[in-house]
Structure formats: C-alpha cells, structure tokens
C-alpha cells in the first residue's frame, strides 16, 4: 500500500518500520532474507530453482498448485514455498528425493484430471504445464485419467476458454482482480469439479464486467484461455506487460 508522499517517506524509514532480517539455510547454503519474503523468493534470489505453476511474478501468491513444495527440517509435512515465510535458523531442502517424488506425483495428478493432450493444443510448445514435465522428468502418468468432459466456451468475440485444459491455477482470477480491477473471473464448485467462471457462471461473451483486455489469456499457463483463430501450437503468451503495469501503478509490494 502506498501512502501520500510525506507519509511514505516516514513509512520507508527502516527505523520507524523496521523489517527484521533473518538468516536461514536452503540446501545447506546460508541465506539472508527479509522476514516478509517467501522462501520461494529468497531461493530464486540466490539462484536456487524451485518449479512453480500458479506463481507468476507480479501477481499475489495463491499456493494452488503445490509444485513448489519444500522440506523443512523438523516438520513432518511438506510446505509450499510460495506462501511460507522463513524463520531464523530454518533448514530448507528443495531437492530431496522425497520432494522431487511428490512434485512429480502432483504434476501427474494435474494431468489425470483433464484432457491435456499437447499434440492438438493451441499452446503446444509454449505451455508452462508442458515445460514442467521435462523439468521434473515426468515420463508417464501412473494414475487413472478422469478426463471430466467440459464444453468449450467460445462466446466471447476474441477469446475462448477450454476448461479441459485448465489446471485451476487461478492466475486469470488474480490478474483480473488485482491488475485490471474487473474481477470477472472466479472459481465455482469443489474439488475436481471446480471450474473457473466468468461473472455468475454466464457465457463469457455475455459478461458485463469483462473489459475484453485479454490479460487473463496472456497469463494463463496452458491453452485453456486462448485467442480465437489460433491454430495448434500458435498461441504464444505475452506476459511482459505485468511488471510495467505494476511499476506504472506504483505498486510493487506484491
């Protein structure tokens, strides 16, 4: 949150709003961080890679995909690093066999839910989900496919949503609310029956809140949201606008 300039100067003074700096370790490497930084962000600052899907620089964190899980010494459960803050002397492991195994399983489960057939997808070759399979070394899906059948909504003049390719990362929901300010997108239903909706589950083309800006399409990690008329493998997403928009609005806190 930004204050008027005279107040901001005070807010920016570390002696008035002190932010604690703490030290902890990731994979045995000593790192320091502000207490309000996430483990994911500290890891990436230090060149330690953690895979993510729902995370997108410039949007708030949601912790939806769980691919960024890490091990924290002393804790029996795995924690999503995008929404976990470090504590002093914490020991974080990002690449143990257990972590890598669970990440692959999570990714496989994402593939079991809906119909992610890359070869006939508009985003083939430009897809975050597809890239993760090579990054995480996923070769097969060891679970039964659910392949819930969803209709394509192509009622919008320029865009279409194919729920069969949606991974429920909620990037569209966040960019629409946080950057565009329209909050057209939301999620309805529970569990694997959840789906993203426009307005009150109306066809996208009939949405009164949608401004047609297309930011949701550009941030979507898969081919779920795409520009109409794009053939297979033609849909490349342009996300360069996000940091600029954040900068112009003077809001870099998120």
């Amino acid at each position: 949150m930004r204050y008027p300039a005279f107040l901001q100067r005070i807010a920016d003074r570390a002696d008035v709003q002190p932010v604690r700096i703490l030290t902890f370790s990731i994979n045995g490497q000593a790192v320091s961080a502000r207490e309000d930084e996430t483990i994911l962000s500290v890891a990436r600052e230090n060149g330690i890679s953690i895979p993510t899907l729902c995370h997108l620089d410039g949007l708030s964190e949601r912790g939806a995909c769980r691919l960024c899980i890490v091990e924290i010494k002393g804790s029996p459960k795995l924690s999503p690093s995008c929404v976990t803050l470090p504590r002093q002397d914490m020991e974080v492991i990002t690449n143990s066999d257990r972590v890598l195994d669970y990440r692959r399983k999570i990714l496989e489960l994402l593939f079991t839910e809906r119909n992610h057939i890359c070869s006939v997808c508009v985003s083939n070759g430009h897809c975050d989900l597809q890239s993760l399979t090579t990054e995480l070394g996923m070769t097969h899906v060891h679970y039964d496919y659910l392949h819930t059948r969803h209709a394509v909504d192509a009622s919008h003049e320029r865009f279409s949503v194919d729920h069969n390719r949606c991974v429920l990362c909620q990037r569209c929901i966040r960019v629409c609310e946080e950057i565009e300010g329209a909050h057209t997108w939301d999620v309805m239903g529970r569990g694997y029956l959840s789906k993203v909706i426009t307005d009150l589950n109306q066809p996208w083309g009939e949405s009164t809140s949608c401004t047609g800006c297309g930011k949701c399409v550009q941030v979507c990690p898969t081919g779920a949201l795409s520009e109409k008329g794009k053939s297979v493998a033609e849909m490349t997403k342009k996300r360069q606008f996000l940091p600029y928009l954040k900068l112009m609005r003077g809001d870099e806190s998120r």
Binding site: S119, V120, N124, S231, V232
Partner: protein, 473 residues
C-alpha cells in the same frame, strides 16, 4: 463342411486389418471379407472443438498422410471462414502436397510392396521384407529410402517438421517459405528424377513377371473417380470431380466437390469399422467405384507435365479402356511421383512462392464447409458444421481408403478364388491376398508401427467355432 479362414493381422500395410475367407464343402472359396478392426471415433470426439483446431486435430488420424488430412480440413475451414485463400498460400499447400505424395508413394512402393515385386510373391517369407530387399537388391532399397527422404524433406522445409506439422491453417498457411528452403528443395530434384526414372524402367521391365497378379488383383469393371483441373488434367489439391464408367465413358464431369453428398453415400456393415461409400445413382453395392493412383490416371486427360504425360500415355496404352487391374496402382504411384517432382519444380520457380502474404484472417462466417483433396490413397473428404461460436457440431470424413472398401472386398474374393484351391491354404496364396490389399495401399489406422512376433496367422475355424488348423508364417 464349410470352413472359415482368417488372415490376421495383415502385414506390410498401414494399420490393422484381417481377412476372413469362407470355404464351401468342396473347399472352394465362397465368400471373402476384409475387416478393419480398429475404431477411431474422430468424427464424434471432434464435436465441440473450435473449427480452427481441426486441421491439426485430424492430422492425428494418420502418421503417413497427415498433410492430406490437414489440407482437406483446412479447405473445409476456408469455407467456414468464407474467405479466399491467398494465391501464394494455395501454391504452398500444393508444394507441401507434392512432398507428401512422394514420401507416401515411396513408402507404399518400396517399403511395403517392393519385397513382393522384386523377390517374388512366393519368396521365403523371412526374406520377403525390406531387409531381404536390402540383401538382394540393395540399390533398389536405397532408392526407396532416399526417395521417401526427399518427400519428407519437402514437408519439413515447408512446414517445419516431417510428421504432424501445424503449418496448414484455415485461411492459408502460417509461415511463408524461406528462400534458403526453396533453394534447398530445388537441389533435391535431380536425385528425385534419377530415382524415379530408374525405378520406372525396372518396374516396366518386370511387368511380365506379374501376369497372374495383374489378371486377378481386383481386375473387374467398376466406376472410377478422381479430381481433375479445369483442363481435365490430373489434380491433387483443387479441381472438380469426374466419374467415368468401366468402358471409359464420362458419366459426370465438373462435379463440385462441395456437393459430394449429392452423388456419394456411405453404407455400414456390421463386420467392419470401415464404411463403404458408393455412387448414389447406382445404389449399394452396385455403385462400387475405385479411387486412388490408377483411378486418377484413368479419369484424367493427362498429367499436364511433359515427362509424366509420356508415362501416362504408356500407362493408358496398357488397356483399351480404363486400366482395370488394381495391380497397376503400383505403376500409377511411380507416375504420380514423377508428376509431383515436375509440379514441384514448376512451383519452386514461381517467384510468388516466397510472398509473405500467406493467410487470410477471418472469423467463422459460414455454418458449414467441405474440403476435398486427393490423398495418396484416393479421394479424401472432410465435411464440418459449426455453431454460432465456431464450435464443431457435426463432422463427416470419407477417408481415401474407404472409397476402395467395396473394391478391396471383391478383390480379396477374386484373388482367393484364383489362388486357394481345394481348401489348401498355402503361404504364397496368403501373401497374394495380402498383396492385393497392399496394391490399394490402404491406411487402416493410419499408423506404421511394425507388428511383432509372427507376421501372419491364418486360422481355419469350423462353423461351430473350433480351431481346426493354424498356420504361422
């Protein structure tokens, strides 16, 4: 006691099929059926998809002729867009199609059929394959490999990859041709010409050896159909449909392919997943017609390119009317490869081919579209209906192999009657039945995966279902 013989699976064809032969009490063949045993379901699961995904979606029907499917599909989508495709894009699609014809015909002739043609239909089955061909006729086998490579390189240079490229799109193609790729393709032509002339000389010189096969490989009167251009010459991508009868008389000419359903209908049989299209006016099954390489050369007035025209004239000279025996499909394939090489050269020398104007952009303006091309195996029809949003509500595809279903079935019977005597199923008789099917080069599931284990199994089954005898080759 009647007996049933099954040939399952049929080898050296694209996909999976089986043949059932029924023998009567005297051991003579009384009935024969050619079954396609795989169900694909494309027409159904394409429903609900956006039409602009269709060219790539239907490409997955086939690993050998995906390009044919993508062009037929894109033409149907062009109609749904309601736009005219820019001339450079039409030429590029045509060039791409030359590549697919060369590689597909090379595969059929050299990899699948040459073992029969060169080594003999009754050669040792363990040698009667591409490896055996390499041992005995290494230069012929190498020619096959190299010719197919040329075809694949044409596809790759145009479309970016050899199998399942996503280059042909509704309204045109999605990238112009690069000048260096054009030059590379021009450099392939001399080798292509050398191979095809060598092979034509060899094949024509050995036609004498196949007299019995020529006489019995689906050698009976049927209608023939194919696309021809405005001059009546051979045409693969555009043009109008022509039907001729078994005497060579034109029954219909200049038929608009968009209205295919006015003169073609499909029949289903419970013993095969492959539908049997027939010529409506004559009814089922009298409306039997042949499509594919020999049929195309039968219906056209020439190829329109100088060297292929010479070969065409020789081909037409084989018989007084249309060339009836489907064995001659092998011959026709070689002529079409020559035609494709010549057409390719003509296209590559056209400066317009490098134009960046290769795609017309529009939304769906029409609710229905039909796209028709000649695939290597025959006429290929894609027909879609879409709703207001451009989502497919109905799809019908008549694939090239389907056109010849009736003819293949009757052909199997003809060959079986000639080569199976007194209920004795010899290995070479089985191979001739398979070779008849190979002459049509059917693309059953449209995949080329090799079949492991025994190449062929023939079961003799009594009417009550007990297995009497089994032969493995």
């Amino acid at each position: 006691m009647t007996q049933t013989i099954q040939i399952k699976p049929i080898t050296r064809i694209e996909g999976h099929g089986k043949i059932t032969l029924v023998l009567d009490d005297s051991g003579a063949v009384s009935d024969a059926k050619f079954h396609v045993t795989q169900f694909r379901g494309f027409e159904k699961f394409c429903e609900g998809r956006p039409f602009y995904e269709m060219p790539s979606l239907v490409e997955r029907i086939c690993g050998i002729c995906p390009v044919s499917h993508s062009i037929a599909s894109a033409k149907a989508c062009d109609s749904i867009l309601g736009v005219s495709v820019p001339a450079p894009a039409r030429k590029l699609r045509r060039l791409l199609n030359c590549g697919t014809f060369i590689q597909s015909h090379a595969l059929s002739f050299f990899h699948l059929s040459a073992p029969d043609l060169a080594l003999g239909f009754d050669a040792d089955p363990s040698e009667r394959n591409i490896f055996g061909l390499f041992k005995t006729y290494p230069s012929l086998a190498m020619d096959g490999i190299n010719l197919r490579k040329i075809g694949q390189q044409i596809v790759e240079s145009c479309a970016g990859k050899r199998i399942h490229p996503a280059w042909v799109v509704p309204g045109g193609v999605n990238k112009p041709l690069l000048e260096e790729n054009r030059d590379f393709l021009l450099s392939l032509l001399p080798e292509g010409h050398a191979i095809i002339h060598r092979t034509l000389d060899w094949f024509k010189g050995s036609l004498e050896n196949y007299r019995e096969e020529i006489r019995t490989f689906a050698n009976f009167p049927t209608l023939f159909t194919g696309l021809v251009n405005s001059e009546g010459n051979l045409e693969h991508v555009e043009g109008k449909l022509r039907f001729i009868d078994s005497k060579g008389a034109t029954i219909h000419d200049g038929l608009d392919p968009q209205r295919y359903d006015e003169y073609l209908a499909e029949n289903t049989e419970e013993w095969s997943y492959l539908k049997s299209p027939y010529f409506k006016a004559l009814g089922y099954p009298e409306g039997i017609y042949k499509s594919g390489p020999a049929a195309r050369l039968n219906v056209c007035d020439g190829c329109g390119t100088p060297q292929a025209d010479q070969e065409w004239a020789e081909f037409k000279g084989l018989e007084r009317g249309p060339v009836l025996s489907s064995f001659y499909n092998h011959y026709a394939r070689l002529i079409e490869v020559l035609y494709s090489l010549e057409l390719m050269e003509h296209l590559l020398k056209d400066p317009e081919l490098l134009s960046p104007h290769v795609r017309s952009i529009a939304r769906n303006n029409e609710f229905e579209g039909v796209g028709v091309v000649e695939a290597p195996r025959g006429l290929l029809i894609h027909h879609y209906k879409v709703d207001e949003e451009g989502l497919i509500t109905w799809a019908n595809m008549i694939v090239a192999t389907g056109n010849n279903n009736l003819a293949m079935n009757r052909g199997v019977l003809q060959v079986a009657r000639r080569f199976i005597k007194s209920g004795k199923v010899t290995e070479d008789a089985m191979n001739r039945i398979e070779a008849l099917i190979r002459a049509f080069d059917p693309c059953l599931s449209c995949s080329t995966h090799a079949i492991g284990g025994p190449n062929l199994r023939v079961d003799l089954v009594s009417p009550d279902g007990t297995l009497l005898h089994s032969v493995l080759s």
